[in-house]
């Protein structure tokens, strides 16, 4: 599908910020994505239209979150949006699974084919964390996080990207802070080492929707 026809898709225009849907913006994003260190990644602020993001936040707050804890993480998650009783969130997943959206992401990431999407809601509160890992599984191509709360440096919860050497993470290269309506995404590789830093504060909530664009052969 040509970029121009993707950008004029009524489906995308119903949800996404119209300023994003220009050829120039997509080309810029594509360059930023491929040139970013320590591995290809990008962020898009004001990703959804304002009215849309408000509805998503409201709808997600009505869902059930399940506490999970292991050596690697401590957080609460919803089920995949395929399995929750929310027409809006199911529609959101349909958007991410749509040919138009996946083609748009292909243009940005230069990854040719996506054919599956996982998507769920997350809440990290005081002391919750996700330690360093690479996300790599055969079919995962792009990991994404849509932030639904603002957190500052003292509240933690940022996405930390690590430099790597000889296949192991070394030092912190970059921190991406949660900001309402910010979409962060990165290419999943054997060196895409990242973590979610501990959230600090009893009344601090890091709420997000995350998932993967996948290619299942």
């Amino acid at each position: 599908m040509q970029l121009q026809s993707i950008l004029s898709s009524p489906f995308l225009r119903k949800w996404l910020n119209p300023q994003l849907l220009t050829t120039e913006t997509i080309h810029n994003l594509s360059q930023i994505f491929s040139a970013s260190s320590p591995f290809p990644h990008a962020t898009i602020d004001n990703f959804f239209q304002e009215t849309v993001i408000d509805k998503i936040i409201e709808e997600l707050s009505q869902q059930s979150f399940y506490y999970k804890e292991s050596d690697l993480f401590q957080l609460s998650q919803t089920d995949d949006f395929d399995n929750i009783d929310s027409p809006l969130l199911q529609e959101l997943k349909s958007l991410f699974c749509s040919e138009e959206f996946l083609q748009l992401m292909s243009h940005i990431t230069q990854i040719e084919q996506f054919n599956m999407v996982d998507m769920l809601g997350n809440v990290y509160t005081d002391t919750d964390h996700l330690l360093c890992h690479d996300d790599e599984l055969l079919d995962r191509k792009i990991a994404f996080i849509l932030y639904l709360t603002d957190l500052d440096e003292l509240q933690g919860g940022c996405l930390t990207l690590f430099n790597s050497e000889d296949g192991r993470p070394t030092s912190v290269h970059k921190r991406i802070y949660p900001m309402i309506n910010r979409l962060a995404f990165f290419k999943v590789t054997r060196n895409s080492f990242h973590e979610v830093e501990e959230v600090v504060g009893e009344d601090t909530y890091r709420v997000s929707i995350s998932g993967w664009l996948k290619h299942d052969k």
Binding site: D71, L72, Q74, T127, L131, D134, P169, F193, E198
Partner: protein
């Protein structure tokens, strides 16, 4: 040296039974060392020089060699005899190191960490620690079942490592502030 109550044969027998029958063969003893011995150990640990280990995908913590006083104590007749009575094997020696975990430190389960069969001794050397701060040492069997060790100053745990045995130390959160957690991790070498 060791607390008088742990010289009692009936108690040793009871502990040995517990060790053998536990899902993960293990037993934890509270106040195992006498109060003066424990105080001495805590003082020694505070003065040690630690080396940092930082591999974010697997661990973040520091280690120090066991001081001579503790090596002698662990390899004393009292301690060796006690352990033999619990695990039912002849013990040759006990060697290990002291681990220090600060805020943001942890160890993660990792395939390369899977160790062979054997016996391990963990001594909790942390005064005033809250389990809510993290830092709990836990063992995981091959099916993902988790067995957490008690968080009490002076608690001594003996664990039999069973393949594919792994252990981890839970991430230490910000409530620990500048308090460090100290654990002695020692291998119990038994006669083949």
């Amino acid at each position: 040296m060791i607390n008088e109550s742990y010289r009692n044969d009936a108690l040793r027998h009871q502990l040995a039974q517990h060790f053998m029958n536990a899902e993960l063969p293990s037993v934890s003893m509270f106040s195992f060392f006498s109060e003066s011995t424990l105080e001495h150990l805590v003082d020694e640990v505070k003065g040690l020089k630690f080396v940092r280990h930082d591999n974010p995908i697997r661990y973040r913590y520091s280690t120090a060699s066991i001081p001579a006083y503790l090596t002698e104590l662990l390899n004393s007749d009292d301690v060796i005899e006690f352990i033999q009575s619990i695990i039912g094997k002849q013990v040759e020696s006990i060697n290990g190191s002291i681990l220090r975990f600060s805020w943001k430190d942890y160890t993660i389960l990792h395939d390369e960490e899977i160790t062979g069969e054997g016996y391990e001794m963990i001594i909790d050397m942390t005064p005033s620690w809250e389990p809510d701060w993290g830092g709990i040492m836990a063992y995981v069997d091959g099916e993902g079942q988790v067995f957490a060790l008690p968080v009490t100053l002076g608690a001594v745990s003996i664990v039999q490592k069973i393949h594919p045995f792994q252990s981890f130390v839970k991430y230490i959160n910000h409530y620990a502030k500048d308090i460090d957690r100290f654990l002695v991790k020692a291998e119990i070498i038994v006669e083949r």
